[in-house]
């Protein structure tokens, strides 16, 4: 048995009203013993952040999923180096594209929250806002958003000092599920304070997805994130990536 993986990105009401594209993107891939998943949220103020978000999540997932050593066996330092290497590759690709298209690198600004998991644990990695959470019997391990003083300021992979904002969180063995989300989804996926998953949202979702195949599961998740009730919570794009561990 392997991990069940699902993901959806729904455009926000204010993006529709402002004629903006969905600037969130996500990617995931199963590996021999686990999976890699990444959610990117393109900056609202950056002209091509939707492209940045798509390129970054796809490339980082590909690079990390090709690694042979199980992530949970790496030391914190080595794991960080590997993740930084994958991110730097994606950032370089954006920089080359920016030059080719006569844009600035910051026009592709996006945040990154990802999970690199093996059979016995792994890592959450994170630049900027959005949120990652690994659910264990002992409680939720959370990689929290990093904002500036104000809630509408954060850090991006395209920033000059991105490596200082790269944060790694180890995930212990025995993880039941992993959730990665953009900040637009945080308001209803997490509870007040954002320290744990909000069960009245997630329990029915997990129950449904456990018995779903990938395509219908993704469609149902997409429809749920696009539900009109979310418009009273956020005007922003909403992305949620869910990984359900195989039964122990």
């Amino acid at each position: 048995m392997s991990w069940q993986l699902f993901g959806a990105s729904a455009i926000g009401a204010s993006h529709i009203a402002g004629d903006l594209p969905c600037q969130d993107a996500h990617a995931y891939r199963r590996t021999e013993s686990g999976f890699v998943g990444v959610v990117c949220d393109g900056a609202g103020s950056a002209a091509y952040s939707d492209i940045g978000a798509r390129l970054v999540c796809a490339q980082v997932v590909d690079v990390l999923a090709d690694a042979i050593t199980p992530p949970e066996t790496l030391t914190a330092e080595v794991a960080r180096d590997r993740v930084a290497w994958a991110l730097a590759g994606a950032r370089n690709r954006l920089a080359r594209r920016a030059v080719a298209e006569s844009h600035a690198l910051k026009d592709y600004a996006c945040t990154v929250v990802g999970a690199w998991m093996g059979a016995h644990g792994g890592w959450l990695f994170h630049i900027g806002d959005g949120l990652g959470v690994a659910r264990l019997a002992s409680g939720d391990t959370v990689s929290a958003p990093e904002n500036g003083e104000y809630a509408n300021e954060t850090f991006f992979l395209t920033g000059r000092d991105w490596t200082t904002h790269l944060r790694m969180t180890p995930v212990e063995s025995g993880c039941e599920s992993v959730l990665l989300m953009s900040d637009g989804a945080m308001g209803f996926v997490m509870d007040k304070g954002g320290r744990q998953v909000y069960a009245p949202f997630f329990d029915p979702v997990a129950r449904f997805l456990r018995s779903s195949d990938e395509t219908p599961g993704n469609e149902a998740l997409q429809a749920t994130l696009a539900d009109a009730r979310t418009h009273g919570i956020t005007g922003d794009d909403k992305t949620l990536l869910i990984a359900l561990a195989p039964p122990a």
């Binding site: 904002n147 809630a151 009245p200 429809a223 749920t224």
Partner: protein
């Protein structure tokens, strides 16, 4: 709910985010008659508009400071969420202690931010509106300098509004890091349009997410050419 959405999912707002707004309002004697009436109507409009927006009603926090009587800057009520805000009815009387009013507003903003930090509540940059139809009657220079510095340090966004013929624009400009260029001149008595703009802008800001460069609506409905 769409047909193929996952059933029985709770979708409730657990976001805790605030956008603080302080209005420093001149209710000195010279505002008597039509101006104060229009200002009061404008405040009622602000109340209604913010309450009509489900997200802004929960996130915008308001405090009003009035300038009047014998050089008295007074806090009206206390900080409240827009959903609990009741527009006060102001009476025109007295002088214009703008310096004192702004000083109180800046201190209140820092206190309010401290409370958010203590409770782990995220917030967007506080907004400070300073609206006046005359020259300050107190010693305002020091507090104008502090206000400028606070704006430069990104502690607050300052919006000075000149009511009347704009003869006080230069003085009000001293409260903004953008100087006179930062002052908006209220055209005639378009308080209603001003407060509509304020409410629309707050709806945008209170929903803003990281990385947004907030595009505020145009001000032509209430502002004449900058003086």
């Amino acid at each position: 709910m769409s047909d193929n959405a996952i059933p029985d999912v709770a979708l409730v707002d657990n976001t805790e985010q605030r956008t603080p707004l302080v209005l420093v309002l001149d209710r000195s004697g010279s505002m008597g008659g039509a101006p104060i009436e229009q200002l009061n109507e404008g405040l009622q409009l602000l109340e209604q508009e913010l309450k009509n927006d489900v997200i802004a009603a929960k996130r915008v926090r308001i405090l009003i400071v009035t300038l009047g009587d014998f050089d008295e800057a007074t806090i009206v009520g206390d900080w409240c969420d827009a959903m609990d805000f009741t527009a006060p009815t102001l009476e025109a009387n007295g002088t214009t202690p703008t310096g004192q009013g702004v000083e109180i507003a800046l201190a209140e903003i820092e206190d309010e931010k401290a409370r958010y930090k203590e409770s782990g509540i995220a917030y967007t940059r506080p907004w400070l509106f300073v609206m006046s139809d005359g020259l300050p009657t107190d010693a305002w220079e020091q507090s104008a300098a502090e206000c400028c510095q606070a704006e430069t340090d990104q502690k607050v966004a300052v919006f000075p509004i000149a009511v009347g013929n704009g003869s006080n624009a230069e003085t009000l400009g001293a409260f903004s890091s953008r100087g006179v260029a930062g002052v908006k001149q209220l055209a005639g008595l378009h308080f209603k349009e001003l407060f509509l703009w304020l409410s629309t802008s707050l709806q945008t800001v209170s929903q803003s997410q990281a990385g947004d460069r907030v595009q505020l609506p145009p001000t032509d409905s209430w502002s004449s050419v900058q003086v």
